[in-house]
Symmetry: C2
């Protein structure tokens, strides 16, 4: 049964059903005020012919495309395979399906891409709105998008927060909890390995670290803070720098860095978690099967994606979101690497 998608038009269907173009349009768009008799006759013809209205014509006439874009700026696109992004994308895609919206994906690879993509994204007739992953300072496209007046929702706390609706994980609180957990385990010399500079994520996670120390009355020792860039390699190097200062626990701003750091600690002859405890951030799939299983922070990534879509649709349909910022909570997943289980302190 090959339904040949020939170029049927509303008018064709109208003729076959013995009604007018407008009536078919009303049926297709589920408008009220169509008599039951006519509606069923038209639906019948539509089913028989396999008709689907032309998307471009509909968009042109109605000035709505029922499409939204998901944009990953130049500074993050290359990390797309990092599980965070596909998970977020999946959440967004699912929500789009549910709302009968079509999703366009823009991975901005290079500066040239940026120039080419911007018109596509901002011009009329393609997208009703966009979701942007942000959190890095040097992201021109995102800033241009924000100043153009297309409906927009930013995922991740943007650098310039002026009247932009955004959605973010509670990085400060998540990190505070993680570090407080390490403190609760009796550690006093807690180090941290930071993510890439110039990202709000890193800034916020650092703030959470400091907050936890302050709450516990522990001193902030700059020597126990090492710079990384979220990668495993950088975690290894950061740990090497940290080791001389003898931390008894480490909070890494990403699981990948935690993996690297643990490797470095072991290389130096330390046992994990007996001699030194670790907490990561992300809850990568491999965190569970790592030896020792990594204690880490889990983010509701996919939920964030669908929430981003809901918020964007609100802006599209109602002109504004009900709240300017949504901060979603995280969950500390206690496994073995922090030492809680070894000490019989797991909840």
């Amino acid at each position: 049964m090959t339904i040949d998608i020939q170029n049927l038009t509303l008018e064709d269907i109208a003729e076959k059903a013995g009604v007018s173009r407008s009536t078919v349009s009303r049926v297709v768009n589920e408008h009220p005020n169509v008599s039951e008799k006519v509606r069923t006759r038209v639906l019948q013809v539509i089913a028989e012919t396999g008709f689907h209205p032309n998307a471009a014509a509909r968009t042109l006439a109605s000035q709505r495309s029922s499409m939204i874009g998901f944009i990953l700026g130049r500074t993050v696109s290359s990390f797309f395979p990092d599980p965070y992004f596909p998970q977020l994308t999946q959440g967004i895609a699912q929500a789009c399906n549910q709302n009968r919206y079509t999703l366009s994906l823009f991975l901005v690879g290079s500066r040239e891409d940026e120039a080419m993509i911007f018109p596509n994204v901002s011009r009329k007739g393609l997208l009703d709105g966009v979701i942007v992953q942000s959190g890095h300072d040097d992201d021109e496209l995102i800033n241009k998008l924000i100043t153009s007046n297309i409906p927009i929702v930013v995922v991740g706390r943007p650098f310039e927060v002026e009247n932009v609706t955004f959605l973010d994980v509670d990085n400060v609180e998540a990190s505070r909890q993680a570090v407080a957990h390490l403190i609760g385990l009796g550690n006093t010399r807690i180090a941290t390995i930071e993510g890439s500079a110039n990202t709000t994520v890193s800034i916020d996670r650092r703030r959470g670290y400091e907050k936890a120390l302050a709450e516990a009355g522990l001193p902030l020792d700059e020597k126990l803070i090492a710079a990384g860039d979220f990668s495993e390699e950088s975690g290894y190097r950061a740990m090497e720098a940290l080791l001389p200062h003898k931390p008894d626990a480490v909070f890494a701003a990403s699981d990948a860095m935690a993996f690297g750091a643990i490797r470095a600690a072991r290389h130096a002859g330390l046992r994990v978690p007996e001699d030194i405890g670790f907490v990561g951030f992300d809850d990568l799939p491999s965190a569970r099967r790592f030896e020792p299983a990594l204690t880490t922070v889990r983010q509701p990534v996919s939920e964030m994606g669908s929430k981003a879509v809901d918020t964007l649709l609100q802006i599209i349909h109602e002109g504004a979101a009900s709240q300017a910022a949504t901060i979603v909570p995280t969950e500390l997943v206690v496994r073995n690497s922090c030492g809680a289980k070894a000490k019989g302190l797991a909840q």
Copy 2:
């Protein structure tokens, strides 16, 4: 400098530049036969106003949208976070950028999604063509798509190969090589853990396994073949089933299953790779840092993505692809889990 994206039209630009709509259209579309003087004047006005032609109007008038879709069917969408898919998506997205095409992503979650998405995908005025990830039998959407006559390229060998252009990794040869490698290491009782049934990937990898055994004159022992579903958990269980039959090496059809299988082998007191060697498939990021580092098959996933786009554009522009099937080669990455390094036999 807020460029307000008001609804400028060709006509507006034409008026400002003192020319006709047609001339502006020619300039925008880089048609020849526009005098240099007029062209620069028009470009000037366009730059000043920040004009971008309306996508929907252009699509409607030209019957081309410059958009393609990437569709993950119901049977694979849930695996989107598996690094294979984001990597493929990235390759596709990059190629789209280069060719000035816009990418739409369809993750078909449920059967209801399928019904809702199909019209969007197949109807005119939205997509010029689609790339579909296939390889599973029960995938209605994909079959419907193939019978509708939208330009299509399938990634992964489809079940029904009748006049469909597809692109696939050489699973048979990759597996043959992997198993031959284990044979070359002196193993004679080589087991395999298969992926999900009803996928061409599994079928092909099994065939490669059998081929390698046959070439080496080794018997095919059904007891050394265990069923899995690509997941780590299934790898663990499959290995438990395999252990009583004392394999000296295992070829797992995915890295995740290899991880699970190694865990099971160790649980039974075996040393890896001294007592038993393992080869996986996929080269996940964690394969490198696994203990022991996993020998596995690397696929040029991102390249496949861009090749899929090239092929699709060929079909769109020239009516057909230059070849019906493209089979891309893989690479065996020898690390420690197979025992080659231990035996001093690494390449």
